[in-house]
Symmetry: C2
Subunit: 246 residues, 2 copies
DNA sequence: CGTGCCATTGAGGGTTCTCAAGACCCGTGG
DNA sequence: CCACGGGTCTTGAGAACCCTCAATGGCACG
């Protein structure tokens, strides 16, 4: 019996070691020396498991940390006092959650796990401190924030100038690319979110999303069975997006 | 004749002194000591005048600096290769331009002056360097980036869940608040942008914008004459936004 | 004082939403 | 094992909203 060894192994796994993380090329800057890498390993103070449908944080709560997703899938959404409710993003492994909280020291959106997930908690004070000492880390962090700005600009373009089918095509292409980046199949995957959540994200009603899925299937672009998606003609989807009516 | 004196004065004005800037409470963190303030005065290497309709930067150009607007008014927009064209924001004095360029080291949007403007150029390398040494500056910069993320989330909400009149009302209220913040009248102002640019920003066609303006006027909420706007019933406009159909 | 850009207004059509009914899926409990 | 129920998804019909196209009017600038 090797029980003790197994336990020790588990403990090591739970210890937060960015240098050991198989997602590190998504989170960490390249070209760090050993000293800096060791410092960065001290950046993550805690790992946190979040069960499906549970909140990682809620709008209004004090902002203290950002989170890097190790495994799992999240949505962020905003619920305004007048009853508007909108999904602002879907996040998967290797992506960062919570950057919007910096501006007011409070989270402005809710982060909800769409499947059982596992995140690294990065205390923000400590990140700022370390990024004052490690230039590549600072640079990387700024790029993350800027990338979030650019991502949102993309959604603004989508919401402001695309029709329903174009939006859904763009959504599928984007999801597919991100799956590929993380080593999953880009052509076949399982949607973690409902039609209503997709619709909320894309500024559409769930029926419209459903109809667009059916249309894509009739046109031979994809195959849909509930949440199971298979992309049959990625190029066709891309052509759909490219057709601006100008 | 006092020509030499005048020239000298001009030179002083063109010298970049954040500590002398009447917008400093918008740009600078509070509670800095004199040494830090002096350092920050060295942050701005150049002022730049941009004439109406001229570009401050273009999408694709190498990113080297961000810009703080001293006077004037800008729009940022994105033109995709498939012909989609969308205004992503309007910026006025005291606001920051160019944060989206950090992610790829190239500007992703165009910044165009909508009136003769005057900006402070902040070389990004130097800003990063200084913000490694001056903690409040680092904090302030991060807040600026985060605020941009939150601002864009607001637009996503607007584009994804509001109808035409709600969008325009939100736009007017937002503009009005920002005018007030900068010491201008919140109830009466001159629009620097065309109906088409407003429409592009709000995901609407220019005719729809025009009709909504007329409707607001008929309802006694505002008075419109071309680009001159007077807000007669801000509370009424706010009520319009608050009516989510849930 | 034209010329060109911008804004307004109207009529008709298209896309998406709303409302509604039914089908599918899956976990629960009989 | 099957029936049941709740959540989710699909599909249809009609309505609402916004867009498109088109004509006119106003303003600024040369």
């Amino acid at each position: 019996m090797e029980k003790p060894a197994t336990i020790a192994l588990t403990a090591v796994n739970l210890r937060t070691a960015c240098t050991q993380c198989n997602l590190k090329e998504l989170c960490l800057p390249v070209g760090l020396d050993d000293v800096d890498l060791e410092r960065i390993d001290g950046l993550i103070t805690a790992r946190k498991k979040v069960k499906r449908q549970q909140h990682l944080y809620r709008a209004g709560e004090p902002f203290e940390a950002i989170y890097a997703i190790r495994t799992g899938f999240f949505k962020t959404d905003i619920l305004t006092e007048d009853g508007r409710d909108q999904v602002t993003g879907f996040q998967m492994a290797g992506e960062i959650l919570g950057l919007d909280g910096i501006s007011t020291d409070r989270h402005v959106c809710n982060a909800v796990a769409l499947e059982d997930s596992d995140v690294c908690m990065i205390p923000f004070e400590r990140l700022e401190e370390l990024s004052r000492r490690i230039e590549p880390l600072q640079r990387q962090f700024h790029k993350f924030m800027s990338r979030e700005i650019v991502r949102e600009q993309g959604i603004m373009m989508l919401l402001g100038s695309m029709r329903a089918e174009e939006r859904l095509a763009a959504f599928l292409i984007n999801l597919s690319q991100r799956m590929r980046l993380r080593g999953y199949s880009a052509s076949e995957f399982h949607l973690r979110m409902t039609r209503e959540e997709i619709g909320s994200y894309l500024g559409l009603k769930l029926e419209t999303v459903s109809r667009a899925f059916s249309k894509f299937q009739d046109d031979g672009l994809i195959s849909v069975h509930q949440k199971h998606i298979q992309i049959l003609d990625a190029e066709g989807l891309r052509r759909l997006i490219g057709r601006a009516n100008v």
